[in-house]
């Protein structure tokens, strides 16, 4: 049911350590901001959760990311309810860590589709218990045999965050527009969100695509925001149409520059494709992965120290152009990016 909150939230500004200590618990149902491993992943929060030994997460999210890659690397995910178990698209498609954990039987994997998960979060955000959606009727996603949480006996109603059914197919009773799937609302315990700017009261703003972060904030019980910078609320209120998250939904604010590295924060820094390819390569060998975890997760004493280790040269290469929001200095492929002043399609055919 839609949640009546016990009391109005008042966002607190905390350190990364304190925010994780207070709000991220073992066994929670958890969701992350951004899109795959490329855009606004709350990496610093996931990194800190691993360092504090948090485990047995039930990830309820649309797809993998740098966060799930790291959590799977240390075996901290127990249930993974998602639609895409990749993480890095062109930098590392399948999450090898996840695949290894799955093969060992350490993880329950529940498949949906991307649109279905989007609708589930929309339902969660607006307080609806379920939502009808067409796709994909006739898919094996909606074969009872492939209801992994049901098979594991977790849909018995004793888990408040696990729906009693994966879906229900029914005929549209209002307009007669064929069959639709009723999908349960997504209601995670905690949302980890990385944005560009957050006011000291909790009003938050990002630039670039929205993915499903606004829905996520409203669907989750607790919301932790990391941001590139904390700014005066008064600044964000000069152009409120550019803000997406109202402060009353936020529990904790953490100022954490480069907190989404190696994913991108549009207009701040780009994704680090070479670093992500390195993650993918490390996951292909147990020894290499162990070395990677020691070097990058447990090695640095703080997030600042990790970014110092990445180094000024790389961070300068990743610094976003103020006009495009991404970097044209980082070498992503085999040739450097050309200088472009106008998109070819616009030059040739206009808008």
């Amino acid at each position: 049911m839609p949640r009546l909150r016990e009391k109005t939230k008042k966002a607190e500004i905390l350190s990364l350590e304190e925010a994780v200590k207070r709000y991220v618990k073992d066994g929670q149902v958890i969701a992350f901001s951004g899109f795959t491993g490329f855009n606004r992943n709350p990496v610093a929060l996931a990194w800190e959760a691993i360092r504090q030994g948090r485990k047995n997460f039930h990830v309820l999210d649309r797809h993998g990311s740098c966060c799930t890659w790291m959590l799977n690397a240390v075996g901290a995910i127990k249930i993974y309810e998602t639609d895409w178990v990749g993480w890095g698209e062109m930098a590392g498609k399948l999450d090898i860590n996840l695949n290894n954990q799955y093969k060992k039987g350490n993880i329950i994997l529940e498949d949906y589709s991307h649109g279905a998960m989007a609708m589930r979060f929309l339902a969660g955000a607006i307080g609806a218990p379920f939502i009808p959606y067409y796709a994909p009727l006739g898919s094996d996603l909606y074969d009872d045999r492939y209801d992994a949480l049901g098979k594991a006996g977790l849909r018995d109603g004793s888990h408040p965050k696990i729906a009693k059914k994966k879906y229900i197919q029914m005929e549209d009773p209002f307009y007669g527009d064929g069959d639709v799937m009723l999908l349960p609302a997504a209601r995670p315990d905690v949302a980890l969100i990385h944005v560009t700017q957050c006011g000291e009261k909790g009003t938050a703003r990002w630039r670039g695509i929205g993915t499903i972060d606004k829905e996520l904030v409203f669907a989750c019980d607790k919301v932790i925001i990391t941001c590139e910078e904390i700014v005066p609320e008064s600044e964000l209120r000069k152009e409120p149409n550019l803000n997406q998250i109202p402060y009353f939904t936020v529990d904790a604010i953490v100022e954490c520059p480069y907190g989404a590295y190696p994913s991108a924060v549009p207009f701040f820094y780009d994704y680090d494709a070479p670093f992500m390819r390195g993650m993918d390569a490390a996951s292909r060998n147990e020894e290499d992965l162990k070395k990677w975890i020691d070097e990058w997760i447990y090695g640095p004493a703080t997030w600042e120290e990790l970014m110092t280790k990445v180094g000024a040269k790389r961070l300068m290469e990743l610094k976003a152009d103020s006009t495009t929001g991404y970097s044209t200095r980082i070498l992503r492929g085999k040739k450097p990016a050309p200088r472009v002043t106008v998109p070819l399609s616009v030059a040739r055919s206009g808008y």
């Binding site: 064929g178 929205g210 991108a264 494709a273 998109p343 055919s349």
Partner: protein, 299 residues
């Protein structure tokens, strides 16, 4: 002397729009441009990451300049200057009409039936165009576990037409998939467990007539007949019909084959190499132009 993008742009119309010869292009270029030919100028296209993205960008700069691109992270009609590595890349969002999120793309655009063409990849396909991107072997202990649906099953069932680009092997072109992530023209009706035409399972919905229209593999291109069955349309240069059949796990309809897949033109190759993937992210290597084309480029 390396030419600037502006100088290269001025050359496009000087490069002949004539088919290149075998040996002057590589297979990924042929595949990207073959799939680009599926795009109509008035299409609203919803494309996935990888070669589909390269194909649609090429189409946008050649055969279909007015086609509108949607990328699932929330991007509507981006005007891209640098090839994106993901459908959430800020590069894909450059100068877009609007920027939203997943509810916009899957709800407002896709389920609202605005999307005329879906552009996707797949791990395996059945003879009715049903696609598997989930697993091979037993679902719970698979021989191969893939990434899972992502937007594939949404885009693949609710776009009016759907084109797939798929690596062809005998174990990937199948009579029936181990797991049908994205139904093709036949799928299971879970109300009675029977395998039926999509038209019947989706009857009454706006999407009963929507489904796969084309497949491009590393061997050939394919279409779908009125029954929803896949048939061989063209074979790539140097590939025989027998070879295609050898690499197909079911008895393929080869009666409608129209000869060889159209070679990419020099102009299409120029656009793909110099503008779409100038950073060589998708294409494995730089390919030399024949001397007469290089002469035009060098001026």
């Amino acid at each position: 002397m390396k030419k600037s993008i502006e100088e290269l742009m001025a050359l496009i119309d000087l490069i002949p729009d004539e088919p290149a010869k075998v040996g002057e292009f590589i297979l990924p270029e042929l595949m990207a441009i073959a799939i680009a030919h599926e795009v109509r100028n008035d299409d609203i296209v919803f494309a996935g990451t990888g070669l589909p993205m390269v194909g649609i960008m090429t189409a946008n700069l050649t055969v279909a300049p007015n086609a509108l691109l949607i990328y699932e992270a929330g991007i509507c009609d981006g005007k891209t200057m640098h090839v994106p590595m993901s459908v959430c890349d800020q590069r894909a969002a450059n100068m877009s009409s609007t920027l939203g999120g997943l509810v916009d793309t899957f709800g407002y655009y896709l389920q609202q039936h605005f999307v005329t063409l879906g552009f996707l990849g797949g791990a395996a396909i059945d003879k009715y165009g049903g696609v598997n991107v989930t697993s091979i072997g037993d679902y719970y202990s698979p021989q191969h576990r893939f990434t899972g649906s992502g937007g594939n099953s949404d885009i693949g069932t609710m776009s009016h037409r759907v084109a797939y680009i798929i690596l062809q092997e005998k174990r990937r072109f199948l009579e029936k998939n181990d797991y049908t992530t994205t139904p093709g023209w036949y799928c299971t009706d879970w109300k009675d467990g029977k395998w039926k035409p999509k038209k019947e399972v989706w009857a009454g919905t706006p999407f009963a007539e929507s489904g796969p229209c084309a497949v491009v593999s590393n061997f050939a291109t394919y279409g779908f007949d009125d029954e929803g069955l896949i048939y061989l349309q063209t074979t790539h240069p140097g590939v025989s019909v027998a070879q295609v059949q050898e690499n197909c796990g079911f008895d393929l309809n080869v009666s409608r084959v129209e000869g060889e897949t159209a070679h990419p033109t020099y102009r299409e190759l120029f656009v793909l190499r110099e503008f779409v993937d100038a950073e060589l992210i998708f294409l494995p290597q730089k390919v030399e132009y024949p001397p007469e084309i290089q002469k035009i480029i060098d001026g």
